[in-house]
Amino acid sequence: MSEKGLFHLLVQKIRGGEGDIIPVLRTIPIFEGLGFNDLKKIELIVHKRNFMPEEIIFYERQPGTGMYIIKKGVIKLTKTINEERVKIGELRDGEFFGEMSLLDEYPRSAEATAVEKTEALGIFRPDLFGLIESNPKLGYKILLRLSKRLASRLRETTERKLREMG
């Protein structure tokens, strides 16, 4: 074994491996560009959840608590329109939903149901707020990214409305 290999192994051992959660977190825009140490802190507040086919993840109108990242599987989003349940989207591996619930308790706008056996990572508001309180620097980075996402969504909605109005 080479010296570099040994050193690399030692560093890996001391700081701990990436595991299976950190690579998923890296792909999420809210955690984009964060260093290993920051991601390690976020990993501590991630809850692994497994859902069976047709199992409801959250109900429409239920107060939002946090976001889910799909590690493996498929989920569908449905909404009640004119007393009928309408499918509004389907999300797959690496996609995420419910991130606005990280900021407030506003009721969920849709119902999320697992289509097949799904493994998801949940990040919830109380945990995130605790992390922000104990790590303000990291908190600032996450909140800045969340705000950017919120701003871009707002821009998209405004542009769409303007287009609709002609």
């Binding site: 501590l44 809850h47 692994k48 959840r49 497994n50 859902f51 199992e55 409801i56 993840i57 959250f58 109900y59 109108r61 239920q62 107060p63 608590t65 946090g66 949940g122 919830f124 109380p126 945990d127 605790g130 309180e133 104990s134 790590n135 303000p136 620097k137």
Partner: protein, 352 residues
């Protein structure tokens, strides 16, 4: 989707079963409450120190290192406090030991007089009904033999606690978050979000309350000691400490501390000047506490009716003495918040 009769009956059965499990846990905890004391003390310390560890961790050091530094610092601070206060405390304890027979004698004489007066004025009471048991209790206190066994028991308990408490505190500070996460991982998906929120609300209620009460009690005790010492009141350290310790218990505590302190002064010197000094210091400390300290440290006070607070404190004292009294209010609030959250999350949104 309409629920069938079987589903409805099953839900009812689930609720009853859950209630039964909770009740069984409470009964088990009550039957082993003596063993729980060091763990309860450890939890109280953890609630108190956790924000400091979080703050240190936010500064960029690992949690384990933060806990180790905090432990070393705490030992250092406790050692300094011990060095500063022990000579004063020791001389007061020696004085108290020396004067104990005299004080008990004075109490006996006073009680005798009161009992005689009662027995004379209430014709229904035959002579000796009240006096005899009182004499027996005081005689056993004066001979000191009755308390030898309990003293050995206390020393044993303290020795066990000194081993258990630091271990539990260390590991809960270091791994508390992981333990919480592991526990909540067992909650079924359907109730997960509701229970996570509930868990945090309870944690917040208990930790804010305990932290606030302890800081408040420490400040009151310290101010009282300084005040009584400056006015040269006998046993200033012990009396101040009593006022501080009793301040942990809302409403009843400060009054009890005052009653004990003023009665003690009357037994000790019987001097009106000393009593006035004590009352003056107590009044100043209370004003400072109500205007400055309490609003600062008890900012997130609990919204429970005063009468309810008194009832739950009495129940807490009945079940687990002074620790029970300290924990009664936050536990009551936790139960209240549990019902509110469960109602909102599980029943109101129909996902029970």
């Amino acid at each position: 989707m309409e629920k069938t009769d079987f589903q409805k009956a099953w839900k009812t059965f689930e609720i009853i079963a859950l209630g039964f499990v909770l009740l069984s846990i409470l009964v088990i905890l009550y039957s082993v409450r003596e063993l729980l004391t060091p763990f309860i003390i450890a939890f109280v310390i953890v609630f108190f120190l956790n924000p400091i560890v979080n703050y240190m961790e936010g500064g960029g050091i690992s949690r384990t290192l933060a806990v180790v530094i905090l432990f070393v610092l705490s030992i250092f601070v406790l050692f300094i406090l011990w060095k500063l206060t022990w000579p004063m405390l020791q001389s007061e304890i020696n004085d108290l030991k020396e004067n104990a027979p005299l004080y008990l004698n004075r109490i006996q004489t006073g009680l005798d007089r009161a009992v005689d007066l009662l027995e004379k004025n209430i014709g229904l009471l035959p002579k000796g009904t009240l006096g005899k048991p009182l004499h027996e209790k005081i005689n056993s206190l004066m001979s000191g033999t009755s308390d030898v066994n309990s003293l050995i028991k206390i020393v044993k308990e303290l020795a066990t606690s000194f081993i258990i408490i630091p271990f539990v505190v260390f590991f809960l500070l270091k791994d508390g978050r992981k333990v919480k996460k592991a526990l909540i991982a067992y909650v079924p998906n359907k109730y997960f979000e509701t229970f996570l929120v509930l868990f945090y609300k309870i944690d917040e209620q208990i930790s804010n309350y305990i932290r606030g009460q302890l800081i408040d009690a420490f400040s009151v005790g310290l101010l009282a000691i300084i005040g009584l010492y400056l006015f040269e009141v006998n046993y200033s350290f012990l009396l101040g400490a009593i006022l501080g310790i009793f301040n942990i218990i809302p409403f009843i505590g400060p009054l009890t501390g005052f009653a004990i302190g003023s009665s003690f002064i009357l037994i000790d010197t019987g001097s009106t000047v000393d009593l006035l000094k004590f009352v003056g210091v107590y009044a100043c400390v209370r004003i400072l506490d109500d205007i400055i300290i309490a609003p600062l440290v008890l900012s997130r006070s609990v919204h429970v009716h005063t009468l309810m607070v008194i009832i739950v404190i009495t129940l807490g004292g009945f079940f687990h003495g002074i620790l029970g009294m300290l924990l009664a209010v936050p536990l009551f609030c936790s139960i209240k918040v549990t019902f509110q959250t469960l109602y909102k999350g599980l029943i109101e949104y129909g996902n029970w």
